[in-house]
Symmetry: C2
Subunit: 157 residues, 2 copies
């Protein structure tokens, strides 16, 4: 984590009369150190592995702060668990999700983005955010003998 990000975080906290704590710092550091789409529990386990014991409740609370401050993006891929990704390290993109193995591929299309803006504007809608996901089978999973699922199953949704 860079000094710049640290100052950025402290400023964001101060602006809301929030305090800097070792837990918040550890969570920010962990999040900024990953490029994956992780759920709360992944972050929880990652921190435990680093011998930084933080409760899940604190992780959820901190992720909310980080989302509002623009450090992370919270996304719902439809299986009942939120995913969080480092927003600083990447430009905007959307996701393609394999229904079998759970693999996530990122994509970005300027024209789609442009049209979204246009559609919103045409409808007198003030766009705040969007969610765009493509679900299907990744190359590897299409080649499989259509047996049972592989690793992370796409449950619920």
């Amino acid at each position: 984590m860079t000094t710049k990000h640290l100052r950025q975080f402290k400023d964001a906290l101060k602006q809301d009369s929030l305090r800097m704590t070792s837990q918040r710092l550890a969570i920010l550091d962990d999040v900024l150190g990953s490029e994956e789409h992780r759920e709360c529990d992944d972050i929880y386990l990652s921190l435990r592995q680093k011998k930084v014991p933080v409760s899940r409740a604190t992780i959820y609370r901190t992720l909310d702060i980080l989302e509002k401050a623009g450090f992370v993006r919270k996304m719902d891929i439809g299986d009942g668990r939120f995913r969080y990704e480092n927003k600083l390290a990447q430009t905007h993109h959307d996701h393609m999700i394999c229904l079998k193995c759970g693999k996530i591929i990122e994509f970005m299309d300027r024209e789609i983005e442009r049209r979204q803006d246009q559609i919103a504007s045409d409808n007198g809608f003030h766009l705040v955010k969007h969610s765009h996901q493509l679900y299907g089978l990744c190359g590897a999973c299409q080649d499989l003998p259509a047996a049972e699922d592989q690793s992370a199953p796409a449950s619920k949704a």
Copy 2:
């Protein structure tokens, strides 16, 4: 509900060795009679009003069957509750959702659809379905004095 749809449903049931029951019929009828984006409880209350007592468990189970058979579309608008919509009465579309009043506006853009297919194909991905939602403020809600929310609040997500 047309005779055609009824036969279509019976065929779908037969194909999976499922049985026709009065509950399933009532649920199908209710779903095909609405053009809204409803959650399980809306359908539950609608049926009760018609004096057709069906349990929520049966509604969930039946909606799953109806989704697989192509009668309804199940969608996740990110607030923790699934919405179901009549898929037979409408052509494909996606949704714009007001974060304040919960209003849902449908939209459809051929070029976006085309590009989605292209992106999937470029990545060796076999597309099964997609989810595309625009979140923001509808015209009416932008004009309001930014006080508290109106009716159905967009919680959780």
